[in-house]
């Protein structure tokens, strides 16, 4: 019984991390129709930079902020000078961004080495919380859940309730007409792409504090993020929330109940869902 609840918290806190990464991924895909496979590398890079900032300044909060901010110019340059050249060619985009991810991974290896590194968390977050029923759980994971809910709510308000959000949603509906009614869609791309980079870099620092950072971590997390957006529907913020929860819980219970099939527990339901809803839970037709 206790383990079941423990796995639920494991799942939800992993979902919280996945949402941070997948929300930006899905928004930038929805608007720009670019499959950016380097998103995992943004996560890892942001994580490492956040780690260095945290070590240097002693402030975890600064590390989280700095890790996110540092990825913005990186993402901008990659967007502007590399991905932009692929136009609408999705195959070229995937190949290019996978290549970029390899390069970034190697650069990270050169700078931070091949050991598994943990972003140091502040003393206050290192303890454990005792839940009713005697369940003891790391406080950090609870803070992560609260933080992710806060980020999710902010994104939702921005996306659903502001004029900028309406412009982004309009761009997801029909990019060409957005520019034909007088909106500089390139400027919108830069904004959304910066937001996506920031969220990925921030997720790297937050995730690096409990999953650790190591060469290859970018691909592991990217696979999860892809499954999240496929479950939820590419381009849907609500879908990223629900998808992250489904993937987080499937992963936690899969590892617990069927450890030797944990990947199947993740990909099996995804395949079934795609059979019936090829665009994901919140994906729209057309």
């Amino acid at each position: 019984m206790h383990s079941g609840i423990l796995q639920a918290i494991n799942g939800v806190s992993f979902a919280a991390l996945l949402f941070l990464l997948a929300s930006g991924f899905t928004l930038s895909f929805g608007l720009m129709r670019v499959v950016n496979m380097a998103h995992g590398a943004y996560y890892l890079f942001g994580g490492y930079i956040g780690l260095s900032i945290t070590r240097y300044t002693g402030s975890f909060a600064l590390g989280v902020l700095g890790g996110g901010l540092a990825v913005i110019p990186l993402g901008y340059l990659i967007d502007r000078f590399l991905i932009r050249r692929t136009g609408e060619n999705h195959l070229a985009q995937v190949l290019l961004t996978v290549g970029i991810a390899f390069v970034l991974g190697d650069v990270a290896l050169k700078i931070w080495g091949g050991d598994s590194l943990k972003v140091p968390t502040p003393i206050e977050l290192r303890g454990a919380i005792e839940l009713p029923g005697g369940i003891i759980y790391p406080a950090y994971r609870f803070v992560l859940i609260v933080f992710s809910v806060f980020v999710g709510l902010s994104l939702w308000l921005l996306y659903r309730k502001t004029q900028i959000g309406a412009v982004v949603r309009a761009g997801v509906d029909d990019r060409e007409i957005v520019s034909a009614i007088g909106i500089n869609i390139d400027r919108l791309f830069v904004l959304v792409s910066a937001l996506a980079s920031f969220l990925a870099g921030m997720a790297g620092v937050v995730g690096g504090a409990f999953l650790t950072l190591y060469p290859g971590a970018e691909w592991e997390i990217l696979v999860y993020a892809l499954v999240v957006v496929i479950f939820g529907g590419l381009g849907s913020l609500e879908g990223a929330m629900i998808g992250a929860l489904i993937v987080g819980l499937l992963d936690a219970y899969g590892r617990w109940l069927l450890p030797e099939f944990s990947y199947f527990v993740l990909f099996g339901p995804m395949a079934v869902l795609l059979l019936f809803r090829p665009r994901g839970i919140f994906g729209r037709e057309g």
């Binding site: 004029q163 900028i164 412009v167 309009a170 509906d173 520019s179 034909a180 009614i181 869609i185």
Partner: protein, 262 residues
């Protein structure tokens, strides 16, 4: 970016001048040397069968499919190399074929989009004659059926309501020139009459309209000047009355016998 619009005091030529444009759609050579002029507050109708390049002409002016050769001038400003959003901000609004309203946005959001911060349009702020400016309330007054549905999503509207929304959205930018691509498409005869009435009202308020239509009757009833497009070139230019008498053009390029026109 807003300095793209010259002040009306310096303007001398026609509102829109299309001079010998050649436009390709991918590899296909669609517009093969097309020229026209449109004065302020006038309606020019482009007629022609499907696939003759009518929509491409609209898209050329809007900057969505820029011509490879030739020149488009709007209020003495060359549109060459200008991206669609700059052209829109200069005062050219589009009512696209198939309406293309934003289906997941509410009616209110659809209408307010052209006035959003990202669409900093000097035209939307200053355009239109005094007392003739379009804003959210004014557009809803013009299209009362939209007023009842401001919070509905665009996708939930009927075809006629979507067309009103597409026109309303174009008006929110207070354009000097409205590009209308088959506004009567798929509408009931009663709604086609409504579209006709709207176009006349828009002209009376000083908007010029470049209209692409399959509905000959509608086009002839509102247009000041009519062009017939065939295989990427104009085969006729004249007044609606001239066209009604040009039996050979009607028969060969529009597929209507002259007798039916009388």
């Amino acid at each position: 970016m807003s300095n793209a619009t010259p002040s009306s005091a310096t303007m001398s030529g026609p509102l829109l001048r299309v001079a010998d444009i050649h436009t390709y759609y991918g590899d296909s050579y669609v517009l093969q040397g097309v020229s026209l002029t449109l004065q302020k507050g006038q309606i020019a109708a482009i007629l022609g069968r499907n696939g003759m390049g009518k929509t491409t002409l609209i898209r050329s002016v809007a900057g969505l499919t820029p011509p490879r050769a030739g020149e488009i001038t709007y209020r003495d400003m060359s549109l060459r190399g200008k991206p669609p959003y700059v052209i829109a901000q200069a005062g050219i609004s589009i009512v696209p074929q198939g309406r293309r309203i934003f289906r997941s946005l509410s009616v209110r959001e659809n209408l307010l989009l052209p006035t959003s911060v990202l669409a900093r349009s000097s035209q939307a702020r200053n355009g239109g004659e005094p007392g003739q400016r379009w804003d959210f309330d004014e557009v809803l007054k013009e299209f009362p059926q939209l007023a009842e549905r401001v919070n509905h999503s665009g996708g939930s509207l009927s075809g006629g309501e979507q067309q009103m929304l597409a026109i309303g959205r174009a008006l929110m930018a207070n354009p000097k020139l409205i590009l209308m691509d088959e506004p009567s498409e798929g509408l009931s005869p009663r709604l086609v009459l409504r579209v006709q009435e709207i176009m006349r009202r828009l002209r009376a308020r000083g908007h010029a309209i470049l209209l692409v239509e399959q509905n000959l009757e509608l086009a002839l009833s509102v247009a000041d000047e009519v062009y017939v497009l065939s295989a990427g070139q104009f085969v006729f230019q004249g007044t609606p009355a001239d066209l009604a008498n040009a039996t050979q053009v009607l028969d060969q390029h529009l597929g209507v016998s002259g007798a039916r026109m009388v």
